[in-house]
């Protein structure tokens, strides 16, 4: 019987001398919306990249359902940072979203009618249906983010990793993302989001991980997201929760 969906054990990552992540032990239950929060350079993106096997850690391992990443790849979706790709790439919105189905169809085979339908549905879900034939070079930042979100939805994964999806997006996109997040949770999915805006953590998420190279605290937002813990994460000079709800 596996109690936790994701288990990170003893994860240490170092690029140069200083470790970026130090001895992270994290146990994530199924069906939560979790924010990873911490100051710049705290290793937030590195943590999810290491969990996704995109970066090789010095030590430690990650288990999904008690099994290795490789065997569970099929159930994992990923939304990279928007800036990580070249948006001048000659392709359309539909095409990018279809990429999310590639994992299911495997090498060489092409996406068919069924995949196209799934992609169109996902595009609709993020409110981009009028843009499905649009070339991606003509999208605004928020629209780009929604395309990435649709692509992840199409993957039909059980666990989603999102790297700063709220970074520099308009209000409409932010709402769309929140809507999707809540929907995903309703469907029993688990979503892990690298997040920057402390003001919205309580509103958007039900779990939070406070990270600053070391794991400061993680767990239920109401218990963990306290002034005291935030001070530990950001240093004492930051008064983060001036706007306590």
């Amino acid at each position: 019987m596996q109690k936790y969906l994701i288990e990170v054990e003893d994860m240490t990552v170092a690029y140069q001398e200083k470790p970026v992540l130090w001895d992270i032990d994290l146990k994530i239950p199924k069906g939560i919306l979790m924010a990873i929060v911490g100051p710049n350079g705290a290793g937030k993106s590195t943590l999810i990249k290491a969990m996704l096997n995109l970066i090789k850690p010095i030590s430690g391992k990650v288990l999904f359902n008690g099994k290795s990443y490789e065997s569970q790849r099929r159930y994992i979706g990923y939304v990279p940072q928007r800036g990580s790709v070249d948006w001048d790439f000659p392709t359309s919105v539909l095409d990018v979203v279809l990429m999310g189905t590639y994992g299911q169809i495997g090498w060489i085979k092409r996406p068919g009618k069924k995949q196209k339908e799934m992609a169109l549905n996902a595009i609709k879900e993020v409110g981009m249906e009028t843009f499905s034939q649009r070339q991606i070079s003509q999208l605004s930042g928020g629209q780009q983010q929604r395309v990435f979100l649709a692509r992840a939805l199409v993957q039909d994964a059980d666990i989603y990793f999102m790297d700063e999806p709220f970074q520099g997006v308009d209000a409409k996109t932010e709402k769309a993302i929140i809507h999707i997040l809540k929907k995903l949770r309703k469907r029993g999915k688990t979503v892990i989001v690298v997040h920057h805006d402390l003001q919205t953590v309580k509103e958007y998420f039900d779990w939070v991980t406070l990270l600053n190279t070391r794991l400061i605290k993680y767990g239920n937002v109401d218990e963990v997201f306290t002034d005291e813990n935030l001070k530990m994460t950001y240093g004492s000079s930051v008064r983060v929760l001036s706007r306590e709800a």
Binding site: A14, P19, T213
Partner: protein
């Protein structure tokens, strides 16, 4: 030829002097190109000089070095200009623009040269020398031209030192404090093109880029200071120019340009491997030391956490107990790390071979827990 007679050889002195001057100025200007991530611009510029050379010859009908270099300069600058324009006003990436202009201009040069070859009474012999370079044909006059131009370039670099530094490092900031990026770019690009054109005669179109890039890359490994880097690059350029020239005259059938490139490449490889701080060897040692430190810290923490489960914090544990959560993969490695920790006094081993944490071990473990891995 013996070394002694070699040193007295007048032609060799001329050629070596030319190569040294070339090495120095390309090293200096190449440093900026490397820092601006425009290393391959030199490759494109040297290729785009060809049609200029051919065109001037076609019009004047004589092989006058100054005129040919002027033609090369004009078309080299035109090529640079087009690359910048294409890159700025379209979504075409810098490297594509380079490759495009490079092949376009070189192709045009070929067309002109083959056209000239078909003309009657044209004394076109030697035009192709610009493609591959022919250092051994350098005349005293050519070297004088090189020295004069070299001095001009040097003077410009000294005059505009501050601006070039700003430009290579952070031009956005430079603009914000009132410098014109465009003007600095034009000055720097122009003198870089001049340097490249000077090199064409000795090492040719294809290898010129190496002379520009390699000294800068090698110098970069030894220092973080721009002034030191530029001087070092000049020195590397001179060394490879002179050694290359000497080798190619000592050994029969050794083309000068390629030998210079091989020498400077060896300097690059040496610098990459052995430079202090940045070098590969240095980094390897540092990483080894680093990961050993991390292993030590983690083992200590593991032991500490195990100990916390007991009322007696000095409760000893068997190696086997420590293993499951540790970084080191084999028992043998763990024992090695444990021995190091014991040597440092953080833990002790009792008669039965079990391990217990000491007082200073507890202190260090607490410090690690507090500050993460930074307190190494």
């Amino acid at each position: 030829m013996s070394i002694e007679s070699l040193l007295r050889d007048y032609t060799l002195q001329i050629v070596a002097l030319g190569s040294a001057v070339l090495g120095a100025i390309s090293g200096i200007l190449g440093s900026f190109a490397v820092l601006r991530k425009q290393s391959l611009l030199g490759d494109a510029v040297s290729h785009s000089a060809l049609p200029g050379i051919a065109f001037v010859f076609l019009i004047t009908g004589i092989k006058n070095t100054e005129m040919l270099l002027l033609g090369a300069l004009a078309s080299g600058l035109l090529g640079t200009f087009l690359i910048v324009i294409i890159n700025r006003y379209s979504r075409i990436k810098f490297d594509s623009a380079l490759g495009l202009i490079l092949s376009f201009f070189f192709g045009l040069g070929l067309v002109l040269i083959t056209y000239i070859q078909k003309l009657p009474n044209a004394n076109q012999a030697g035009l192709e020398d610009f493609i591959f370079g022919q250092a051994s044909t350098l005349l005293k006059r050519d070297v004088y031209i090189m020295i004069v131009l070299g001095c001009v370039i040097l003077l410009m670099v000294v005059l505009f030192w501050k601006e070039f530094k700003l430009y290579s490092f952070d031009m956005q900031y430079g603009v914000s404090i009132g410098f014109s990026a465009k003007k600095i770019n034009i000055i720097l690009s122009s003198i870089t093109v001049i340097a490249i054109i000077i090199g064409l005669q000795s090492v040719g179109v294809i290898l010129m880029s190496a002379l520009l890039i390699s000294p800068g890359v090698a110098a970069r490994q030894w220092t973080d200071k721009l002034s030191v880097m530029v001087i070092l690059a000049a020195v590397f350029g001179i060394i490879s120019g002179v050694i290359g020239t000497v080798i190619s005259s000592l050994v029969s059938n050794m083309p000068t340009g390629p030998v210079i490139v091989v020498v400077i490449s060896l300097i690059v490889i040496f610098s990459l491997l052995f430079a202090s701080k940045r070098g590969i060897l240095w980094q390897y040692i540092k990483r080894r030391r680093n990961s050993r430190h991390i292993n030590e810290s983690r083992l200590l923490i593991n032991l500490y956490e195990l100990a916390l489960n007991h009322e007696d914090i000095y409760h000893p544990h068997e190696t086997k107990m420590i293993e499951p959560t540790s970084t080191d993969k084999t028992i043998k490695n763990i024992e090695k790390t444990l021995l190091i920790l014991r040597q440092q006094g953080y833990i002790k081993q009792d008669y039965f071979g079990t391990w217990a944490i000491t007082d200073i071990g507890i202190q260090r473990a607490k410090r690690i827990e507090k500050y993460g891995g930074d307190c190494l």
